[in-house]
Amino acid sequence: MNPFRKNPPVDLKMTRYKVQNPVLLLLGMFLLTACAGLPRINAVDAALASKTIKVCETAFPDGKWQFAHVIEASFPGGREAQLIGVTEVSSHPERIHAVMMTIEGLVLFDGLKDDKLTINRSITPFDSIGFAKGLMEDIRLIFLKPDGEPIDAGITENGFEVCRYRVSNDAVVDVMVRPDHMLEIRKYTNERLIRKVVAELSPGSVPEKINFTAHKPAEYRLNLRLISGEQITD
């Protein structure tokens, strides 16, 4: 018996349904809405899930690394800019030091994020806390594995190994390891895609080419090309 229908319709065009149980209807709508933005992860057996989780963990540089990239930024309207970015990341303890400079070597931003955010140097408009926070979050998304254990692990509709992490109350991050040493990271907030990273990895999980797309709240694209990548041993 269909709980949402009391009398069967005579004319589909004139159909009106009388809802028997509005609570169930609301619950159904909620469930549909909740799942609408996140891609499906096909379940796998425990052994394969465990293997997938390990693959996701090794897709990120481990320890302390320093990278220098050429950054090509594209904004709506066809506007573009080129910068050089130097990033030092440490997985344990978690620490990010980021410097952005012009081609001529002028430092526009120098910031450090460990247990607090420190701005060493910034030139307007890079001197806002909002910019610094956003930059550090984006760098963390690209170079460091999400915290904690995944809430799900399996295979995507396209057959890629994927791990899903909950990074906050309203945000999840999907880490997909694609064939040919490609890594894809997607961040969803309230099930809406806000960040997408596609990285070409070299041995040691060093990201050589990175395509970064920001969807919300502002749209922009970054293409990062590796100049140098070195592991630092203290």
């Binding site: 050429v70 904004f75 080129q82 130097v86 081609i103 070597g105 890079f126």
Partner: protein, 217 residues
């Protein structure tokens, strides 16, 4: 984000403009006899004979965070009265052209060179006026910098404007033992943050084709 982008462009333009007087001094001093005599007038007289300059450069970026300096390489060409080509080959391909009163900037990417036609270019045209003045040896007249000779072969330029000095603390120009050749230019942002440009293969008055200021890769 659009307003932010425009602010970035305008800020970079003003900053670049603050650097260019120093670069003019570089271009000027790259061709003059050793300034150890401390005679600004004699240096100014020698500037009249400069018609063309060509050189390669290696740029080292030093930062406390860097394990080793970040290296960029390029070349520049100058032809009197006001044609300039400042080109980076690596790690970024970038080209700045000034010719026939026009300024054009190009940035290289995987799909080739793209022209950057932002509002900053208008400021670059004004900088050209300044370049021409410097190349006549009138560098001490620039109100934005205090220039001094230290020892036999070092010129030090310090911004007078406090807002500029927060971006660039000072510029040091080291003259080579070879008369008329600059060895290095160092731009200090702080004690541990500086950019050093080393000039190589400097040719003076050897002829520079106009096509260098008209063509892009």
């Amino acid at each position: 984000m659009g307003e932010w982008f425009e602010m970035v462009r305008n800020r970079l333009t003003r900053t670049l403009w603050s650097i260019w007087p120093a670069m003019c001094v570089v271009l000027f001093f790259i061709t003059v006899p050793c300034a150890g005599s401390g005679d600004w007038d004699r240096i100014r007289e020698k500037a009249i004979d400069i018609q063309t300059i060509s050189a390669r450069f290696v740029q080292e970026k030093h930062l406390e965070i860097l394990i080793k300096p970040l290296i960029s390489k390029g070349a520049f060409y100058f032809k009197a009265p006001g044609s300039l080509r400042w080109e980076y080959f690596s790690p970024i391909q970038s080209l700045l052209l000034m010719h026939d009163g026009k300024v054009r900037r190009f940035v290289g990417s995987e799909s080739g060179f793209k022209e950057d036609a932002g509002p900053g270019l208008q400021a670059m045209e004004m900088v050209l006026q300044e370049i021409t003045r410097w190349l006549k040896g009138e560098f001490t007249d620039n109100p934005d910098y205090h220039s001094s000779l230290e020892g036999d072969n070092k010129i030090v330029m310090v911004p007078r404007n406090k807002s500029f000095s927060k971006i660039i603390q000072k510029i040091e120009i080291l003259l080579s033992d070879r008369p008329g050749v600059i060895e290095t230019v160092t731009i200090y942002e702080g004690k541990t943050s500086f950019t050093k440009i080393r000039f190589q293969d400097v040719d003076i008055n050897q002829g520079v084709a106009d096509t260098l200021f008209e063509s892009i890769p």
